[in-house]
């Protein structure tokens, strides 16, 4: 399945290579959700300008220092990591394919040593060949948190040797990162401190895109990165504009997941999100880079106008909104009291609070459908009782020894309107079963570090429930759920396992996942974790987040990349 789609994309790229300006399809309004199931306006036409808008400069345009899904998507224009996601729709788009590497990483020693070989013929935009040393240097500089503060920290936590004390090539000049070795100019080897079956996903993070050491300027490198992808930076102004033009030294045959069709790509910062929507619909710009969907005003405009609706997509983003049920706060230490909350929750008003059916579909599982191994089930009757199964809830309250209900605290982020709305909706719906919530709002900046993410704070302040949201770094059960459900992930602050789930059986399943070797075994374990978590009732799923994306009719090769839940930027062209 994955290979077939990969082949289809490769053919398209080869046709582009041939340069035949085949007539572009005249389709403009391909249909609602068309780009989630097929490639809209497939074309090999070259030329034109694609203009992106974005409300604010994200953490960094440096591939080594960004933690935004939209930027992981956008950096594919000028950064080629070892691995990448296949450019195709549906579950095929969650599959990893080699990008800079010639083939996926080869693991040995029970998944603790991962070896990658670089494709021959890969060049930087300045014509220099890409070597394994450039990949190693790119990984080394991600350790310098004073220069690249925002990126993920998988290398810091997974690598063996001196990774724990290494501070990056700027502070520790001349010090070697011993756990990444380069036996020759095309081979790079990662030595891990524990088995890690998902390392190929880590290799797909833009942090493995090569950086030539002699061109690195630290924190300003984001404005003139040396390109290893189809485009190179023509000009960049911090917090204002980023302009890309085709990279003459890029060979399309070597990286079929991305194309070089448009002759210019411009990213402009525009602080007004509603203005971005209006320009997008008017055709002044072609893409909202954030990829999180249009604002409520444009949503009303698109959904009430059939022509506009035919040019929109409403994919599941892979993100999920939910409520933690803390099993250490009495009386929620009794599983029946937790189940009472699962039964009594009104999923309809919760869905409304999170923006309605186009912003999220009602969730009944502990993983979103984009995660490999997901299967649909509904333990707490959300399907048959969309406004809450009060009878079953009262039954559970009796079993819990609280027949008249109980009172507990609920934390939420007071500066997030949807969190605030969800907390109030849950308060109103649980009250019908006799469960009373005392709402406690906290600023989102310190929500995890100081309040709801601190287990002792929740315990001493009687906070039994807390709103949460989560998007995985990669779409499997480990990337999704380890930090939410594994007992080892519980921290004293910044905790994301606020339900305090520490179930030996679930922990064991995660261990099995770390050393699983086949995809089918991983999928099966993932499904078991999902079911086991829901049976523990420490996690009240609210909605699988969705985004209403407007697909500019001027664009070609438009498809929704399921891993990011937004359009795949790397393949786009324009008419």
């Amino acid at each position: 399945m994955g290979l077939a789609a990969f082949g289809a994309v490769a053919t398209l790229a080869l046709a582009a290579c041939g340069g035949g300006s085949t007539s572009s399809a005249p389709t403009t309004h391909a249909g609602f959700n068309a780009a989630t199931s097929s490639v809209v306006n497939p074309s090999t036409h070259k030329g034109g300008t694609i203009t992106f808008n974005l409300t604010t400069w994200e953490d960094s345009m440096d591939p080594g220092g960004t933690y935004y899904a939209s930027n992981w998507n956008f950096t594919r224009y000028y950064a080629t990591p070892l691995m990448t996601y296949a450019s195709c729709v549906g579950s095929c788009g969650s599959k990893l394919i080699p990008a800079l590497a010639a083939k996926p990483g080869v693991s040995s020693n029970n998944n603790t040593v991962w070896t990658y070989t670089i494709k021959s013929g890969m060049k930087f935009s300045d014509g220099q060949p890409i070597t394994s040393a450039d990949v190693k240097y790119a990984v080394m500089r991600t350790f310098a948190k004073e220069v690249l503060p925002a990126g993920p920290v998988y290398f810091q936590t997974l690598l063996a040797g001196n990774a724990a004390s290494y501070k990056g090539p700027y502070k520790n000049k001349g010090v070697d990162l011993t756990s990444v070795t380069t036996p020759n100019s095309t081979t790079v080897v990662f030595h891990l401190n524990k088995p890690f079956a998902d390392f190929n996903y880590v290799a797909a993070i833009p942090q493995t895109a090569p950086v030539p050491q002699n061109k690195d300027t630290g924190s300003t490198y984001q404005l003139h990165p040396v390109s290893s992808g189809p485009y190179e930076v023509q000009s960049a102004t911090l917090n204002k504009q980023f302009v890309l033009v085709p990279n003459p030294n890029w060979n399309p045959a070597l990286d079929p997941a991305v194309h070089q069709l448009a002759s210019k790509i411009i990213l402009n910062i525009n602080p007004n999100a509603n203005d971005i929507d209006n320009r997008l619909i008017a055709g002044d710009i072609q893409m909202d880079m954030a990829g999180t969907g249009v604002q409520s005003a444009a949503r009303a405009k698109i959904l009430t106008n059939n022509t506009l609706k035919q040019s929109s997509d409403n994919p599941i983003t892979g993100f999920m909104w939910f409520i933690y049920i803390n099993q250490q706060v009495a009386p929620l230490n009794n599983i029946h009291c937790r189940m009472a909350i699962e039964f009594a929750a009104n999923k309809t008003t919760l869905q409304d609070a999170y923006g309605g059916p186009y912003q999220g579909s009602v969730a009944t599982t502990a993983m979103p459908p984009t995660v490999i191994g997901y299967s649909k089930f509904d333990l707490y009757n959300a399907g048959s009782h969309p406004s809450g199964d009060i009878a079953s809830a009262k039954n559970q309250l009796k079993l819990c020894g609280q027949p008249n209900g109980f009172t507990t605290g609920m934390a939420y982020r007071s500066d997030r309107p949807r969190d605030t709305a969800a907390a109030q909706a849950l308060q109103a719906s649980l009250a019908t079963a006799g469960i009373h919530l005392q709402l406690k709002g906290f600023p989102s900046g310190t929500y995890y570090s100081t309040f709801a993410g601190v287990p002792t704070y929740n315990k001493t302040h009687g906070i039994g429930l807390a709103t949460g949201g989560w998007g995985p770094d990669w779409p499997d059960a480990y990337g999704w759920g380890w930090a939410l459900f594994d007992g080892q992930s519980i921290g004293t602050a910044g905790n994301t396992n606020i339900g305090m789930l520490n179930d030996p059986a679930i922990n064991k399943l995660f261990l099995n996942l770390e050393s699983a070797t086949t995809a089918s075994a991983q999928a099966s374990i993932s499904g078991q974790i999902d079911m086991a978590v829901m049976k523990q009732a420490t996690f009240l799923p609210a909605v699988y987040s969705k985004a209403l994306l407007y697909r500019s009719p001027a664009l070609t090769n438009v498809m929704v990349q399921p891993t990011f839940g937004m359009y795949n930027y790397g393949t786009l062209g324009t008419k």
């Binding site: 604002q295 409520s296 409304d352 609070a353 600023p443």
Partner: protein, 329 residues
């Protein structure tokens, strides 16, 4: 012209004599009586005053007369667009001001319930700020010297104080009950204290500046040469001349405080939902973008705040004219 001789010269202002000329009996009138007479003749100010009284009555008894403001009506909402069904935010007989987007809660009930909290916080916080600001400003301006230096630097400190950072820190240390109060009762007291305590330097600076110029005036010199002491000059000579700026500033402070409460709620220190407040509704309409899909959600609390401010401004204007006989109209 025998009349003036019958009056004690202390309490008689020249205007009072004129008032008495056409009347049947000439009687002594206090400054307060004169002011009341002037105020009564100012129809606009009286209108503002009546509206303020009406607001206070609504805030006290209104919540008992309207429906429960926290009942959800999901059937009145279009979930796809998050906005109420029907015109003008879902106006109907059951919901005369329509319903809230997303939840379908009754707008009339929420505005009336919001009046209680918003007005309580706005009035008391303003009173606190004006009270502290006036006393400190007058004392600083009249005394001069080291007292002025200390108070002026104190104002600088309060003005430079990062209030929002302080508010965020307060979220963490704030207990769920204190001083016999808990829940929103505690939050309201706390908000009044925070807002009042950090808004006074603005008032204080204005008053200090006014006092600095007033204390050099002839009537103050005259009082001093007649043997008047500090407190008498402060509160009987200077303060009556400061009513103008005090009233104008206080009427401007009220809407600021209504909105400031909403800003603090945003940080989690304000009023706990689902208790409605005007500022909270307004900021929800703006931050959530509801003003674009359901303008009534912004217009209704906005109009309530607008009417309150207008009433206070008109009444305050009239009161100043009545209290300050020298002000030209």
């Amino acid at each position: 012209m025998a009349a003036p001789l019958e009056m004690t010269s202390e309490s008689a202002a020249p205007e009072a004599i004129l008032e008495g000329v056409g009347g049947q009996a000439i009687e002594g009138r206090s400054l307060g009586k004169i002011a009341w007479l002037r105020l009564k003749r100012d129809k606009v100010a009286i209108g503002g005053g009546i509206f303020i009284l009406f607001l206070i009555v609504v805030a006290i008894v209104g919540p008992f007369l309207v429906q429960n403001p926290n009942i959800y009506h999901p059937n009145l909402i279009n979930p796809t667009l998050s906005r109420p069904n029907g015109t003008l935010g879902g106006v109907s007989l059951a919901h005369p001001l329509g319903v809230e987007p997303v939840t379908g809660r009754d707008m009339l009930a929420r505005v009336v319930n919001g009046a209680r909290v918003s007005l309580l916080i706005a009035f008391l916080a303003t009173a606190l700020a004006v009270g502290i600001g006036t006393v400190m400003g007058v004392v600083a301006g009249y005394s001069g010297g080291w007292i002025d230096t200390i108070i002026a630097r104190l104002m600088d400190i309060f003005l430079a104080f990062p209030l929002l950072v302080f508010a965020i820190a307060l979220v963490g240390v704030m207990p769920s009950s204190a001083f016999g109060l808990s829940g929103n009762g505690l939050r309201i007291s706390l908000l009044i204290f925070i807002i009042g305590f950090f808004a006074w330097p603005y008032m204080g600076r204005i008053i200090r500046g006014q006092t600095l110029s007033l204390r050099e005036r002839e009537f103050v010199d005259a009082a001093r040469s007649l043997g008047a002491r500090g407190p008498y000059i402060l509160f009987r000579e200077l303060l009556p001349n400061l009513w103008g700026p005090i009233l104008v500033y206080a009427t401007l402070l009220i809407p600021t405080n209504i909105l400031f409460e909403a800003a603090l709620s945003y940080l989690g220190v304000g009023i706990i939902p689902p208790q409605p407040t005007w500022g909270g509704m307004l900021s929800d309409a703006v931050t959530n973008g509801f003003y674009q899909i359901d303008p009534m959600y912004m217009i209704i609390p906005g109009f309530a705040i607008f009417l309150t401010v207008l009433a206070f401004n008109l009444f305050g204007d009239g009161l100043r004219d009545a209290l300050d006989p020298r002000s030209s109209r």
